[in-house]
């Protein structure tokens, strides 16, 4: 008789994921949070896009008269980053409310007590909820994507690698915010508390960024923990494997913590112990991620790399290069040197070590020293000193240290620039009328009642 089976025959097996995923998707679509966020995004992204396109157009008027000026006109900096910047603001401030809903609603209504009894592992429940967060992000990105489509339809240039790289960065940022929201919802009793916890992370990151960025020492290290830093590398057109692994580890960590705190039948002490273990695992993964130096320059103008011939030659210099910088970290010259030379050298050469001679000393304290401002380059037991922050002076010096001839510049590899004067009317009409109407219609569609269940045969 079926009800007398022995416990040995009991097995936890996976139930089909489809009903769970469908349920999570409907939960996202049925809430007001997603649609309200989408409607708010329309004017926010629309205004940013039209402003960016307008400024880009003004610069393009003069750029069309001079190839040199035109070459400085990159849609990545002029249009994509500002437009997606508005998307970033919306994801930071509004997306947590959407993401929290995937768990917070069930906690508040008590449905979680039913959900945890279904034949799913709690990791499967969290995975399904993360999938719902991903779906919500994809829907949320529609206004931003539509801005890029309008730009392309107006004749604007979009470089596929740099555009996809930037969108990928925003995807990672959105998922990270979603994972934080999920974790917050799992530890909070109410959605309101979860929102406060999540916003503490996201807005706290802003505060960190504004207040301690550019500061020396420990403050600089703390500033690097800001979520805002996640996007900066992608906005520069770089795809960093270490950063991607780091964000992935952080997302995984928050999801793992949500998984620890989701089941209601576990003792608090056990949850705390498991959380500590996960925090240590993720800290280790983050530490390992910082050691990954693999990066790709996705920009069309190769702004993060030296010219191809130099890149090729530098890659062949196998000896270690040691760069000793006599500058305080907050000195603007150090930022210039870092951006124009050091970061590029680190990507181009196989073995580069950079050390600050002043350590964590502040600019005021270090500036009094005689050698302040000097940068010493040591290669193969030979060294030279320069105060320049330009690769035009530093690369020949390095080639001299290595005893190789500078490469001949490759003709025709200059970035042409993409000036464009585009009208604002189409964008404004779309973002202030067309898109909101489409969103309202989609909202109405999502509220329609399903077909009745089929009658018994």
């Amino acid at each position: 008789m079926f009800f007398l089976r022995l416990p040995e025959t009991f097995r936890v097996q996976n139930a089909p994921m489809r009903p769970l995923l469908v349920k999570e998707l409907w939960e996202i679509l049925s809430g007001r949070a997603l649609w309200t966020m989408l409607l708010l995004m329309c004017p926010l992204i629309g205004y940013s896009f039209s402003q960016a396109a307008s400024l880009y157009g003004e610069a393009s008027v003069t750029g069309r008269q001079s190839p040199v000026l035109a070459s400085s006109l990159s849609p990545l900096d002029g249009v994509l980053v500002p437009t997606l910047g508005a998307f970033y603001v919306a994801v930071t401030l509004l997306f947590p409310f959407v993401a929290i809903r995937v768990l917070g609603q069930e906690k508040e209504s008590g449905a979680l007590r039913l959900l945890v009894q279904l034949p799913y592992r709690s990791s499967s429940l969290i995975a399904a909820k993360l999938a719902a967060v991903l779906a919500a992000w994809v829907l949320s990105s529609i206004p931003a994507i539509s801005a890029l489509v309008i730009w392309a339809m107006q004749g604007g240039h979009l470089s596929a690698p740099e555009t996809l790289n930037l969108l990928f960065g925003h995807l990672l940022y959105g998922l990270l915010v979603g994972a934080i929201a999920l974790f917050s919802a799992s530890v909070s009793e109410s959605a309101a508390t979860a929102a406060i916890v999540t916003l503490a992370f996201t807005i706290g990151s802003w505060v960190l960024d504004f207040t301690v960025a550019g500061q020396p020492g420990l403050l600089a290290w703390i500033a690097r923990l800001s979520l805002t830093q996640v996007l900066r590398t992608f906005e520069q057109g770089l795809l960093s494997a270490g950063l991607v692994v780091g964000i992935g580890a952080a997302m995984f960590g928050f999801a793992a913590l949500a998984n620890v705190w989701l089941p209601p039948g576990v003792q608090l002490r056990d949850k705390v112990i498991r959380s500590i273990v996960w925090v240590l695992v993720v800290a280790l993964a983050l530490g390992l991620a910082t050691q990954i130096r693999l990066t790709f320059d996705a920009t069309e103008d190769r702004r993060n790399s030296f010219p191809p011939a130099d890149q090729h030659l530098l890659a062949s210099l196998a000896q270690p290069l040691v760069v000793t910088v006599n500058l305080a970290p907050e000195d603007p010259r150090y930022a210039d040197l870092q951006r124009n030379v050091l970061a590029k050298l680190e990507r181009a050469m196989p073995d580069v070590s950079i050390r600050l001679a002043s350590g964590r000393q502040s600019q005021a304290a270090a500036a009094g020293e005689d050698r302040y401002g000097e940068v010493e380059y040591t290669y193969d037991a030979r060294s030279d000193v320069s105060r320049s922050t330009s690769p035009r002076e530093i690369l020949p010096m390095l080639y001299g240290l290595a005893g190789v001839s500078p490469p001949a510049p490759a003709p025709g590899s200059d970035y042409p620039g993409y000036p464009l004067v585009a009208g604002r009317q189409v964008a404004l009409l779309w973002f202030f009328a067309g898109l909101p109407l489409c969103i309202a219609l989609a909202w109405w569609w999502s509220r329609r009642l399903p077909k009745p269940l089929p009658a018994r045969s």
Binding site: Q13, Y120, S457
Partner: protein, 267 residues
């Protein structure tokens, strides 16, 4: 093997409204006296207050066991502890004599909490489809469950728009769609009038006749007397009496008293 059902045969039929004679010999009657689940010395404290103190009892296969007691007696805490969704300080649950850890309780037990309105923004149909999809229920099984509980009139309503009674019916339908052998229900008759309560009692009896076992937490003693085979009297987290009504009567010396009289005498 469909990969879903753990303790119950996948082809276990969902009950229908087709009434069976209550007195007919059934699987449940044959199974009686077999201890399905044993709860041993469950103790739970909130701060310095004992919510459950050394609670021990057996659940027989194919019975309806009523946990009765006043508000605050610990009925809900006990059900949640048995279901494994509330951590306990001490105690054990055994299934057919073998330990059943909290992480595996859901394979044998499904708990329907009180006051839960799952997925408020969703239409009833969608909530039922979700549960039916999880347990791979057929169309006939879904329709049978809906008809037996009387949920048809509100299928296209959203959950937040349901009355208290229909909300309760929805929860009961979800319970019927699950395959677990043991259903724990917290205040299952709350929100039902007398006629509706009788309908639900018949439904539970039909389920029992098919081999299911129920544990109901009820604070209305008249309802409990109407539906339960045995009772656990719980007061201040302690068991004050266990047995059938006649067992309890003989223990109190009240030869023909109602459950109310027995309860008052024992507490």
């Amino acid at each position: 093997m469909d990969g879903v059902v753990h303790l119950v045969a996948p082809d276990r039929p969902i009950p229908s409204n087709s009434a069976r004679p209550m007195a007919a010999p059934s699987a449940s009657e044959q199974a009686r006296d077999q201890v399905l689940l044993r709860v041993e010395s469950i103790t739970k404290q909130y701060a310095n207050q004992a919510a459950l103190s050394d609670v021990t009892f057996d659940i027989q296969a194919g019975e309806i066991l009523g946990i009765i007691g006043p508000n605050g007696a610990g009925k809900t805490t006990l059900l949640e502890a048995v279901a494994g969704i509330l951590p306990i300080d001490r105690g054990d649950v055994r299934w057919h004599g073998k330990p059943l850890p909290p992480s595996r309780r859901r394979e044998a037990i499904f708990y329907l909490p009180d006051g839960v309105r799952p997925y408020l923004d969703q239409p009833v149909t969608r909530v039922l489809s979700f549960f039916a999809g999880v347990y791979r229920r057929s169309t006939d099984e879904i329709s049978g469950a809906i008809e037996s509980v009387g949920l048809t009139p509100v299928l296209r309503k959203r959950v937040y728009a349901l009355s208290k009674g229909y909300g309760r019916r929805l929860m009961l339908t979800l319970g019927l769609l699950t395959p677990q052998l043991l259903l724990l229900m917290d205040e299952p008759f709350d929100g039902f009038d007398l006629r509706q309560t009788r309908e639900i009692v018949s439904l539970l009896r039909a389920e029992v006749a098919k081999g299911r076992t129920f544990v109901l937490a009820i604070h209305q003693l008249a309802d409990a007397e109407r539906v339960c085979d045995r009772f656990i009297l719980l007061v201040d987290g302690r068991v004050r009496g266990i047995g059938t009504l006649s067992d309890l009567r003989s223990r109190t010396g009240i030869s023909s008293g109602s459950l109310e009289d027995v309860f008052l005498a024992l507490t």
